[in-house]
Subunit: 312 residues, 2 copies
């Protein structure tokens, strides 16, 4: 398999067909996110609008809504606040990441940090992290699932910053990082969607595991694209994970980063990463065996495939 | 009234007598906060321990527990997770403030930012902000009260940063800022405590208003102490609110800050601020008229007085 051909032929995840009822709910997730960040404090509103209206793949809210439908949920609108909350957690983390990583491009636009500066970017991230719980308040027991996943996300980001600082970026550490910083929230997305539809315990567990494995694959591909892509195509500053060590260094060691990037690209690492992501997606899809066939299940399988095949 | 004599004679807020059952619950708030920030990600655990074990006045959890008892709650331990959550919101905001304000001393210790650097301070703040909702998850409808107060806090901080940047620090703007960044969380503390004890609606409202007015007074005194105190006495970097404009300026205008500080100290501003704080405390205490007398009510009144009389 030529992974690079696959990348070239990739279809944006957003183009895959969703059941109409899910697509409509996903549209309402957008308007709900925009309405929940309304504030008379214009900086917070404007910066939140800026990052939210830039779009993004919306993989996580899709996962919430499709998991909900796949286990028999009939009113995806019931799940839209939770889907919006999950995407806000991701958005908040992205705004804070761009402070720590000096990211100047995000979702094809200047980052909040680049436009409003560090102080307001920090506060905008805090604002978004907190709006999550305004949305989640009515969902009672579900709150702990999202809070735990968000704690894991922050822990994963911290492990990553520590590994960069201590120059301890082994494969084992890498998997520990992506499990927390990405897969935990994907897992929560699958679990929350299924729970909201009162899915049977084993189906709920299957959707959680589906999310977890898809999340791992998603992050692996993200990191590959970060290495191989350019900033314009990615819609965010490329090579940033390699470069983020500069926050700790007195000087930017650009040559070191460039040579490291070349080294990774020369070896088998990219090919291996695609193989690993593909295996995780296969594993994720096999989790769905105990979920009855439906349009939503088909869309979940499509989503999993697209995660490996995407080019941004 | 000589406000400066009052300041000199001040007794630390922590020395006032609490009903034993409330003091015991407050002790458990400490251990609960330390246990909830446990993590195998050592930076997050260590930085959280560092800021939490430095102490602090714990005014907000006191308010939760005393409000609970004042409206008839018999088991303050039931309220400890909420009291801990309220203090964690405050602690998270303090960690993030010290990034934005370049604060190097907090609670008599080096700030998280000073010891671990900006990246880890940002992530520690995110960690603490999220742990709030792990604690709050079982409290269902209460979540929205704390989330709303936290949004207000972030809005208040943002208004403050905007006012500094735009050099628009009028008295009206000042009150808008402190209402959100401080009084909203104090209000929530009073309201949450009373609600947890199933207080009658008018008593719950009275405790909320008590918290709000005490919160305004607390912040006014905090700002006066920030102007008049030194760093050692305050346990945090003094003069920081005046100085925080430097984040936006290319150069530090230290002379401007020194002269502004002198200007404020020369005028009637300090005396007026104490008068205002005293009026707010009187107003707060009058809110408690409809609450039956009890040791907890006496402690609330003591707490309100101590807020104006404290020296740190």
């Amino acid at each position: 398999m030529s992974t690079h051909q696959t990348v070239q032929a990739a279809v944006p995840a957003s183009s895959h067909q969703l059941p109409e009822i899910v697509q409509n709910a996903l549209d309402r997730v957008e308007s709900l996110m925009l309405s929940v960040v309304e504030s008379d404090v214009t900086v917070l509103r404007d910066a939140s609008y800026h990052i939210l209206s830039a779009g993004g793949k919306r993989v996580r809210p899709r996962l919430v809504l499709l998991a909900y439908s796949a286990v028999g949920g009939k009113d995806p609108d019931f799940a839209t606040p939770v889907a919006a909350a999950v995407e806000l957690v991701h958005t908040a983390s992205v705004v804070h990441d761009d402070i720590n990583d000096h990211g100047i491009v995000r979702r094809g636009r200047p980052s909040v940090n680049a436009l409003w500066g560090r102080t307001f970017a920090l506060l905008t991230g805090d604002f978004l992290f907190t709006k999550v719980y305004e949305l989640m308040a009515p969902f009672k027991d579900m709150n702990i699932i999202l809070a735990d996943a968000t704690v894991a996300l922050v822990e994963g980001e911290t492990l990553q910053a520590s590994a960069v600082k201590e120059n301890n970026f082994t494969r084992e550490v890498y998997y520990k990082i992506i499990a927390r910083k990405t897969a935990a929230l994907f897992r929560a997305a699958g679990e929350l969607g299924a729970r909201l539809a009162h899915g049977q315990p084993e189906q709920t567990e299957a959707l959680a595991n589906f999310g977890y494995n898809v999340g791992l694959a998603f992050q692996i591909i993200d990191d590959v694209l970060d290495l191989t892509g350019d900033t314009e195509q990615l819609g965010k500053t490329a090579g940033i994970d390699l470069e983020q060590g500069r926050g700790f260094a007195a000087v930017q060691e650009k040559d070191v980063i460039t040579s490291l990037k070349e080294k990774v690209l020369q070896g088998d690492a990219i090919h291996e990463a695609y193989e690993q992501a593909q295996q995780l997606v296969t594993l994720a899809i096999s989790e769905l065996d105990i979920v009855p066939d439906s349009d939503a299940k088909t869309s979940l399988i499509d989503l999993a495939h697209l995660i490996v095949e995407r080019s941004y």
